[in-house]
Symmetry: C2
Subunit: 353 residues, 2 copies
């Protein structure tokens, strides 16, 4: 098969980890007789520096024409202390999600047996955890009307959801649950918010179309607790944009493998794959960042965007092997053992594929 | 001194745990020569059953006349599966907060050395944790306009904050930080929300009035992570209503002592003290619920509402003693040891005061 993949390396360690994912993807493509064309494009702080905006129209066109988008990370410290600066990298991210119609963010949290002791949680709490969040990504309070009144003394943000927006996200949730353990948790704050009541009633009405799926409804504050107490009691969770932002980040650190967690954002036109970690500016250019989350994001791309399960499994298998053999960057290296460089990990994976 | 305390036992285990707090408070009052008049009033599901509304006007009057309010828990399973029922216990809670002007919810998370192994977190992660959240409680998306449009197909919730609302909450945060380690963390989502940008700029402008306090600004998703990773790196945190709802619940389970965490809601007219746990309906009437969070809430009341630090310390000391000697309810009893009943714990505390 032939693929055209948009390559958005972004800022900080983005280019370094993307580089290794390209290496591994090319090796897989060679092995399985595919042909990948990579089309790089600018986004984030580097796009602001180059052309003044964080998500240029040219980048959007590259993404729209691509079969999938592979994304590194965005963000630069020079924007961090001024969240009201007129142009910021995150705006590019939000604009990209909206313009590409990436309405569902798929964020798995799972464990690697060899990394369980990295978790802040006790072993018996985290063992067996394998959950997936589907976070709504193009609606809610992120995209509602916002502004000031009373000469700047009053600020407002509107949270808005339509039934259709809830349905398309929930549909993905039910479908995913059908491929897993058939358990779906709808996370809301229906005891306080009208948008949450719309979420709940919409999902309740869809239950009859998926009679095999057992649906539970939990309040966001209760989920924030249980994620720390018994993460292994969850399977598929669906939720709105802001709750998803908070809970998926919380979930990402409990596994002890945050540097390894991939994610996908799927939607109307194309889909985007990215590691869940940030741009880690302090490590930029040092060749020490862990490339595995990006490489596992590429695996998700092979499986979900191109339907190539064997290729994805081959990547996951070699990543597992590298972990077992301790071919890892400094964040995962055991005390007293050698830490590999970012590019060395990629090279090793390619050799061992 | 003479105090008039409104006693809102509420639902589920509320009456049982409140009962023990009253016993202990009366014993302390006797010991230190104070006189307490308790005025019971209805709230929650029991108020709906009795008079049709969850926060009756009579209850409001009792609270307004009182020097402080001691609160148990509200909520009943018969309302749980229908968050859009026209009358629900939680509405009483929100109405009470608003009408009593309880704008700041003070929620500490700390550890008891003897309970550290109950934490889902590893010992080295949780040891030394001693943080306090100040959650804004009468504004934001909880109280903004909400409703439906397009024949019910679109739902909305407005989040609104004024600078004055932020200032009065932040002022309490700065003042609290001055009495502790002089570290304040403002939790927001200023990279996305206009209300968060108002929060951040307002707190930034107040920094000059508290030159000794070191203020940090963190995004809510980052805090959701660090609370699990390094909770002991936080001291005082201030945040808006919805973020506070989620993060304080997350924080409450990390200590391993959730059944022991007290809280206060302070405001314009009076202040209210309550355990942070829920109404635990399954345990109602069984005399097994842990009364310590309510008793420690009474201690907070003595110290903060009445300025009686010795009385508060005496309560805390005897609670510590009961923990050390294993005089605890079944949730805390070590395997193979005797679990005390709710009322037995109260009796023991009174005897050992
Ligand atoms: C950078 C920020 C706007 C973004 C979000 O809140 O969605 C990030 O936290 C994420 O989760 O991808
Ligand atoms: C019951 C609910 C309305 C309430 C809230 O969200 O404030 C509760 O979760 C709390 O934190 O006191």
């Amino acid at each position: 098969m032939k693929f055209n993949i948009a390559l958005l390396a972004g800022d900080g360690i983005g280019p370094e980890v993307i580089n290794e994912a390209v290496k591994v993807s090319d090796a897989i493509a060679k092995k399985f007789n595919h042909e990948i064309t990579w089309t790089p494009a600018l986004t984030g702080a580097c796009a602001i520096d180059a052309v003044g905006v964080p998500y240029p129209d040219e980048t959007h066109e590259v993404c729209m024409k691509a079969d999938a988008v592979l994304f590194g990370a965005i963000g630069h410290p020079k924007y961090d202390n001024d969240p009201s600066a007129p142009v910021r990298p995150e705006q590019g991210l939000l604009l990209m999600r909206k313009k590409l119609g990436l309405f569902a963010n798929v964020r798995p949290t799972f464990t690697f047996p060899s990394l369980i002791d990295n978790s802040p949680l006790k072993r018996e709490r985290i063992e067996g955890t394998d959950l997936v969040f589907l976070r709504e990504l193009t609606g809610g309070i992120y995209f509602g009307e916002k502004g000031r009144r009373d000469g700047g003394e009053t600020a407002f943000d509107n949270c808005v959801y339509t039934r259709a927006e809830v349905q398309r996200l929930a549909k993905k949730g039910f479908e995913l649950a059908m491929t897993r353990s058939k358990k779906l948790c709808c996370v809301d704050k229906a005891n306080v918010l009208e948008t949450s009541r719309l979420w709940r009633e919409t999902v309740q009405a869809m239950e009859k179309d998926y009679p095999e799926v057992t649906v539970s409804y939990e309040f966001v504050d209760a989920v924030a607790m249980r994620l720390v107490q018994w993460p292994n009691s969850y399977d598929v969770l669906i939720t709105e944009n802001l709750f998803g932002d908070i809970l998926t980040d919380e979930a990402s650190v409990i596994s002890g493998s945050m540097g390894l967690m991939p994610s996908a954002s799927v939607g109307e036109h194309t889909s985007l794959y990215e590691p869940i970690h940030g741009s880690y500016p302090q490590a930029t250019g040092l060749n020490i960042a862990n490339p595995l989350a990006t490489i596992l994001s590429a695996a998700m791309m092979f499986e979900d965007a191109f339907g190539l399960k064997d290729e994805a499994e081959a990547i996951r298998a070699v990543v597992n092997k590298s972990l077992e053999q301790g071919v890892v960057t400094e964040d995962l290296a055991a005390k007293g053992t050698k830490a590999y460089k970012t590019s060395e990990v990629g090279d090793w994976l390619v050799e061992n594929l």
